[in-house]
């Protein structure tokens, strides 16, 4: 069905108007915190809902071209939509609607001590920029929106600037995102210069003609730029710092959606703008994906800060997506378009799923933070009794991200596995081995992810509370729970009825690469490459429910007694049980620390203070097993030291005030642009 573009533009205008109204309204009503809160998040909510409609219409085939020649220098501002952009708009909306709803309740905690007006302004701008980025049709529009998105998110990250570490985290984010920005700028300008046009739509045609060396250079530059936004290892360092620092509904958006725009860029580069490239492009992406997946989850596995754990697991999931993308590129190179489509569908599906369950988990972490004022898992525990509903929702998120049936993560990871497994059709030993290792990496990643979220959920929600704060936790207010419930339902729906997504996704990919993905699916089942692999999620779910219902009935029929007595946990008859007896998050992660010691290079310290009378009575035991971050130590420290020495020369410019740096960046940007004209 075709949607006429006037309708589309109305939807888009409605979106922007709502978000703009939210932004300005929040600023105007800044005086009364409550009003600012509701106006800000309300505007965002309405805007995101319209955006959802807009995206869906786009997926349904609606097209749109907007061109404002004099809005921006060189080339003007050009917006347009195709299915791929529409898909990402939908993904953004799926996460943004609950995030806005969540924000209404969550930001109450900031009343009085933070400017909710500024926050609302930044929040709406952030969402608006994210929605517009995939629509950008030429270099300058894209870069401008990209920069707005980065700045808005930067200001949101440093909201809680009074906490120590927040500004530092913001600064790291700021530097990394602009390093990435510079790479993008260079890449775009090179390509624009080589092709003689700044319009994306033309590149698809002309870029193939560009000489290979500069194509390679452009690819590397753009890959680095988008990779740094996506948080691919080793460009991930900002992610575990910035995401925990931001307010939880913002972390949800940053981790669930913003980093996906890096994925969007990579898809565009690899399959639209530059077209098929040499083997090593795909190989590079595949290897980067494998490394990000394994290392990301390994870091998540040992972290005790709940939100940082989630941030690292975002790195892992980006890795999984990269595996799909890289596989797609390699298939494209091997002239197997059907498999290219399959791999792309898998990657994009996982992108959407991750947006759903990662936002859910971040909101859950936020709810915990809200209720207990701590993110440190060592002080949590027992929350399943004090906040039962949050617990169930967080559990659903954990199951989904651990890729367990019947939730959505399972489907996309299954698809990724299938697309890696069909690789044996390629007849080149090196590629085969590469894929074999990719499969091993993905398998290890998924196994470790399951372990990681057993730990995350088990330590924070089960057993006895490990601190007074956790003991006095209370269920959060309804808007927060409603937001999480919406996402949980999304996870379930995408998990049992994948065809909801696969149908539009398949056409999207068809538009992109011009061939149908080598898969068939109907409402209940999907099959890959003929009968190579098949899955019937709906039936699996029904089977689970069915058996779950049958077993208790059967037990009753055969007359099993149901006498139950509640008593203390069995601890070999020890006198009392306190939370001190429980396994800690650190202890839980210890086996992994030992097995992967090579990667953690953790430093262990144990100092025991004995009783003066006898060595058999211990006063205090302090155990510390800190994992070191290899990339920070090996890659960034030297880099920063170098930069520092440069900065010392430029001390005259250095005012220490972050905002003046922004001015410098802006000046530099404009200067660069003028140079190229």
């Amino acid at each position: 069905m075709a949607v006429d573009s006037s309708f589309m533009s109305e939807l888009l205008v409605a979106t922007i108007v709502c978000l703009g109204a939210g932004a300005l309204g929040a600023l105007l009503t800044n005086r009364s915190a409550k009003a600012a809160r509701i106006v800000g998040c309300g505007g965002a909510l309405l805007g995101s809902i319209f955006a959802l409609g807009f995206g869906l219409a786009g997926l349904a085939g609606g097209s749109l071209r907007l061109y404002f020649p004099d809005l921006l220098p060189i080339g003007g501002a050009a917006l347009g939509i195709d299915r791929l952009s529409a898909f990402f708009v939908v993904m953004i909306a799926v996460a943004a609607i609950p995030a806005a709803l969540y924000g209404i309740g969550y930001t109450r905690a900031y009343e009085g001590n933070h400017s909710l007006g500024g926050m609302g302004f930044a929040f709406n701008t952030f969402i608006a920029a994210m929605i517009l980025v995939p629509l950008a049709q030429n270099v300058l529009t894209f870069l401008a929106l990209w920069e707005v998105m980065s700045l808005a998110s930067y200001f949101l990250v440093i909201t809680e600037h009074e906490r120590e570490g927040t500004l530092g985290a913001g600064w790291v984010y700021f530097v990394m995102t602009h390093a990435g920005f510079a790479a993008l700028l260079l890449g775009f300008l090179l390509l624009a210069q080589a092709t003689g046009t700044a319009f994306f739509s033309d590149w698809h045609v002309v870029a193939v003609g560009v000489d290979p060396r500069s194509r390679d250079l452009v690819f590397v530059l753009l890959a680095v730029g988008f990779g740094s936004k996506a948080g691919v290892i080793p460009l991930h360092v900002w992610l575990p710092r910035a995401h925990p620092a931001a307010p939880s509904h913002v972390s949800a958006l940053m981790s669930g959606v913003m980093i996906k725009l890096g994925v969007y860029g990579l898809v565009r580069v690899a399959f639209d703008w530059l077209g098929a490239g040499p083997i090593w492009w795909g190989g590079m992406i595949l290897v980067a994906g494998a490394i990000s997946g394994v290392l990301g989850v390994l870091y998540a596995l040992v972290d005790t800060d709940l939100k940082r754990l989630l941030a690292y697991s975002s790195v892992e999931n980006i890795g999984i997506i990269m595996l799909g993308l890289g596989a797609g590129m390699l298939f494209q190179n091997a002239q197997l378009p059907g498999f290219t489509g399959l791999a792309l569908v898998a990657a994009l599906y996982h992108t959407l799923n991750h947006a759903a369950f990662k936002s859910l988990l971040f909101m859950g972490a936020g709810a915990i933070l809200h209720a207990t004022h701590t993110r440190n898992m060592e002080n949590l525990g027992g929350l399943i009794k004090t906040m039962p509903q949050t617990a169930i929702l967080f559990l659903i998120g954990s199951l989904a991200i651990a890729a367990l049936p019947p939730f959505n993560g399972f489907i996309s990871e299954w698809l990724t596995f299938q697309s890696l497994l069909v690789s044996f059709h390629i007849a080149a030993h090196t590629i085969n081995l590469l894929f074999t290792l990719a499969i091993a990496a993905l398998a290890l990643t998924s196994g470790l992810a399951a372990a990681c979220f057993v730990r995350a959920f088990g330590i924070s929600f089960l057993a006895l509370p490990r601190s007074a704060a956790a003991g006095m936790a209370h269920e959060v207010e309804w808007t927060i729970r409603a937001a999480m419930a919406a996402l949980a339902l999304t996870c379930l729906a995408f998990g049992i009825a994948p065809s909801l997504i696969l149908a539009p996704l398949e056409t999207t990919v068809f538009d992109l690469i011009g061939t149908h993905a080598d898969m068939k699916f109907d409402l209940s089942a999907l099959a890959v490459n003929g009968d190579f692999g098949w899955l019937a999620p709906l039936w699996l779910a029904l089977g689970l429910i069915g058996c779950l219902a049958i077993i208790p009935l059967a037990l009753r029929l055969i007359g099993a007694t149901n006498r139950r007595r509640s008593h203390e946990s069995w601890g070999c008859g020890r006198a009392l049980q306190t939370a001190r007896f429980e396994y800690t998050a650190t202890a839980f992660a210890n086996p992994f620390k030992r097995v992967f010691a090579l990667l953690y290079r953790s430093v262990k310290e144990l100092d025991v203070e004995f009783h003066p009378e006898s060595r058999y009575f211990v006063r205090t035991i302090e155990y510390c097993n800190e994992g070191r971050l290899i990339f920070e130590d090996a890659l960034y420290r030297p880099l920063l030291r170098a930069i520092e020495s440069v900065a010392r020369q430029a001390r005259t410019l250095q005012s220490g005030n972050v905002h003046s740096y922004l001015v410098y960046i802006l000046i530099a940007l404009v200067a660069l642009l003028l140079l190229t004209v």
């Binding site: 027992g382 399943i384 199951l399 651990a402 890729a403 367990l404 299954w414 299938q418 497994l421 044996f424 030993h429 085969n432 074999t436 499969i439 091993a440 990496a441 398998a443 290890l444 196994g447 399951a450 372990a451 057993v454 088990g458 057993a463 009968d531 190579f532 692999g533 098949w534 899955l535 019937a536 039936w539 699996l540 089977g543 689970l544 058996c547 779950l548 077993i551 055969i558 099993a560 007694t561 149901n562 006498r563 139950r564 007595r565 509640s566 008593h567 203390e568 946990s569 069995w570 601890g571 049980q577 939370a579 007896f581 429980e582 396994y583 202890a587 210890n590 086996p591 992994f592 097995v595």
Partner: protein, 312 residues
């Protein structure tokens, strides 16, 4: 007809699995010069447990009471997917071998959570070790699957068995045998058998699987034990039918089914003997030697894939 066979297979898994465990115990007892418990002991145990009171720790949540049912559920569902007797399974379309692996992982996930639920140190220890081993076993499983899938050209259980049944000289195929060994080691690890975990240990500090279910009693314990039995049965069935597909019914004629049943019984008995021999002759590995074992199995799986590529 076909659906009837499906449920026949389910029934076999559900009701024969305790017998399988009993057989292993009996064989081990014999090798240890003991009479050993009668092979039907586990049925008696389960019947007794179902008639006993259950003691539930007051620290636990609904997860503790929910998980036993879920464990049994995942195993029953897997029993519908695995071709026990016939490759013409009506419900086989529910998932391929990868879906099966994830179903098992679902059970492990909840069991580990339960280990943490009661807040006792043992449970946490068991949970941590269980997930560690499960995670480290995962690559071997998938690589071994890759190794056989790329020769069979499919990842669907029925398809793979059909192809292998048609293949002559299967037992001379290096990649096939390597994949089998890798899978066998993983099966031992996943089911908490020696040399990874000692199913009969009484020492909490050496426990893995046992440590997580220390808190269970009465009907819950019965369900958990039964589910563990079904898991073992399914893994051994998978091993015997996937790698030694002789006698598996390719069509649903009664004769073929009877042959399949007999063949399955024989293969399982062989496996029982092998496991009993293994468990009487090897000692439990130190926990931190287990990764080395899994690394070894991973090596074998990798070699299986490499040979399959280079010698195809």
């Amino acid at each position: 007809m076909e659906i009837a066979i499906e449920f026949l297979q389910l029934a076999i898994v559900m009701f024969a699995s305790p017998l399988l465990v009993g057989l292993i115990r009996k064989a081990k007892a014999r090798l240890q010069a003991r009479r050993g418990a009668p092979v039907f002991q586990l049925y008696a145990d389960i019947r007794k447990l179902l008639s006993k009171e259950t003691v539930v720790s007051e620290n636990t949540s609904w997860l503790f009471r929910f998980t036993p049912y879920l464990l049994a559920t995942t195993m029953m569902l897997s029993a519908l997917i695995v071709p026990v007797l016939s490759t013409r399974t009506t419900l086989g379309f529910m998932g391929n071998i990868i879906a099966l692996i994830y179903l098992f992982l679902l059970g492990t996930f909840f069991l580990a959570l339960v280990g943490l639920d009661a807040g006792s140190a043992f449970g946490g220890m068991g949970a941590s070790r269980e997930v560690a081993i499960a995670a480290l076993a995962e690559p071997t499983v998938l690589i071994a699957i890759f190794g056989i899938a790329l020769r069979a050209g499919t990842t669907s259980l029925d398809g793979m068995i059909t192809r292998f049944a048609a293949e002559p000289l299967l037992m001379l195929n290096t990649g096939h045998l390597l994949a089998f060994f890798a899978f066998f080691i993983v099966a031992l690890a996943e089911n908490g058998r020696l040399p990874v975990d000692n199913p009969t240990t009484h020492l909490e500090l050496t426990m893995i699987h046992e440590a997580m279910i220390l808190e269970y009693s009465g009907r819950y314990l019965a369900l958990v034990e039964w589910a563990a039995g079904m898991k073992l049965f399914l893994f051994l069935t998978l091993l015997s039918n996937l790698f030694f597909p002789w006698g598996v019914a390719l069509d649903n004629t009664p004769v073929a089914l009877v042959i399949a049943l007999v063949a399955l019984a024989i293969k399982l008995v062989v496996f029982v003997g092998a496991i009993a021999l293994l468990e009487t002759s090897v000692a439990k590995l130190r926990l931190f030697r287990v990764p080395e074992l899994l690394a070894g199995s991973f090596t074998i799986a990798l070699l299986a894939v490499v040979t399959a590529f280079f010698l195809r």
